[in-house]
């Protein structure tokens, strides 16, 4: 099987028990999921856990995941956002599997944790609903209709949330870069 197969094509192979097909989806997206997670949690170790949780969740929910133009990435990012809200609770279900992952040989320093800048850091201060539409429509460039399809919502709902999320982001980013509020998000 070629590496250029879309995620949904790989998914069909994985559903038939092809672990390498699932791994190719992992290869394609785990860096992006990791960076997204880093914006939402305080420690790189937690971000790595969120990556694991996200892909285990994808497999657990394999019958209901959604693809956009053949890509699983929007679903993965939203699941990572959800998992990052409470890493310890989210990891409970996969405790045994996550325990098999060895400790990191390198740990990201504080400078690296703000690598994506204040705009992405500000995601952490948005409500879950607003964060989801920003992730899909702003960071991933999906149309409102595509985001609505991924989220299972009317287009008007996505449009409304996006409008309000952008206003909330603007309020957050209007602050000086290192106000206490924003600095708080980078503390362990």
């Amino acid at each position: 099987m070629s590496n250029s197969e879309s995620d949904d094509a790989e998914w069909q192979l994985a559903l038939d028990g092809d672990g390498e097909a699932f791994a190719r989806v992992f290869d394609r997206h785990h860096h992006r999921v990791y960076r997204h997670s880093l914006a939402l949690v305080s420690r790189s170790e937690d971000a790595q856990d969120v990556v694991g949780i996200t892909f285990f969740e994808a497999w657990r929910k394999r019958a209901s995941v959604r693809f956009v133009d053949g890509s699983l990435l929007p679903w993965l990012l939203l699941t990572a956002s959800y998992s990052a809200r409470n890493v310890s609770r989210s990891s409970r279900r996969f405790r045994d599997l996550l325990a098999k992952v060895p400790p990191a040989e390198t740990v990201a320093g504080p400078d690296e944790l703000v690598d994506d800048g204040d705009a992405v850091q500000a995601l952490r201060h948005l409500s879950a609903q607003h964060r989801d539409v920003v992730t899909l429509c702003v960071l991933e460039g999906l149309t409102e209709a595509e985001a609505a399809d991924v989220l299972g919502l009317p287009v008007g709902t996505v449009k409304s949330r996006l409008h309000r999320a952008k206003k909330a982001l603007a309020r957050l980013l209007d602050k000086p870069a290192h106000t206490p509020d924003l600095e708080m998000s980078t503390q362990p």
């Binding site: 994985a14 559903l15 038939d16 028990g17 092809d18 672990g19 699932f22 791994a23 992992f26 290869d27 785990h30 860096h31 990791y34 960076r35 790189s44 971000a47 790595q48 990556v51 694991g52 892909f55 285990f56 497999w59 657990r60 929910k61 019958a63 995941v65 959604r66 679903w75 939203l78 699941t79 956002s81 959800y82 809200r85 098999k100 992952v101 060895p102 990191a104 040989e105 690296e112 944790l113 690598d115 879950a128 989801d132 409102e144 209709a145 609505a148 991924v150 989220l151 299972g152 919502l153 009317p154 287009v155 008007g156 709902t157 449009k159 409304s160 949330r161 409008h163 309000r164 708080m184």
Partner: protein
Amino acid sequence: MISPDPTQSAALRRILIEHVEQTAPPGARVRHRGARSGLLTGLIAIPVAAAVAVTAVVMWPTSDSATAAEALRSAADVSITTSDPLVGPGQYLKVTTEAAYLAYESDADGQLSAYLSPSTTETYIPYESGQDWVQKVTAEPATEFYGEASRAAAQRDWEETVRGGVVRVARAADDDFAQSEELGGEIADVPLPDTPEQTLVFLHEGPYGDGTDDGALAYAAQLLREGTMPASQRSVLYRALALLPGIRITDGNAVLDGRTGIAFSLDADPGAREIIVDPTTGLFIGERTLTAIATGAVPAGTEQEYTAVSTTVVDQAP
């Protein structure tokens, strides 16, 4: 650009391959686990307004914190006396959420118009553990229009919604909904602490975890709108909100989804979230957010987001 630790990633990749190959009988449907956990208490303990003697609606003419706190404590007192009938074998708890959002449209000149986009979500929660939950989301055409461009925008967006499906029905084992909290989410299985003080700490540390009172109110609203909280926990939650120094009554006669209640908010922002509670039953009616100022064709005080929650017991799910 930072990258994940390569050793960990390689290990995770290997574990995923093993996990997929060990758990993927071709075509198998994903099922999981047996007994439902602590949420069962919430599921079987639903409030029924009819069980409560209805008293006169009390109007609250002032909006100071002390008055708001008193009203919340009163709602807590009424809640605790509200009957929580059981969902019986073969039955479902049906949580209906009527929601509407103001969808904005900007024209070439930057002028804002908007329309109100409503939808209804019905969640059917079975008594029996291991049975599928069912969630039905029904989109509805726009109901309110602000500005000339709003009708055309509403029509265009509605056509997109029709293409995606006006009615979407999802099923999932237990609370494991793909579409709950819209995706990847689950209905929260979170027992509240026993005291108002501890509950307030819990709300401050919740998923909006910035420690602010606004975040605490947002988390409280999220828990309440799930519609599965028993009266005893709702009572504690109201008492916790009464401890917020900025809590106030913004409307003593707020109407949402045809029901009347008291709207509570924080006084930091006139466009802040309001939760609306029926003072005669202690039931949570819903939440709403109004526009703080006039923007484009949308006047100040317009509902820009609301959800109204109600629960019933039914014998069948879609």
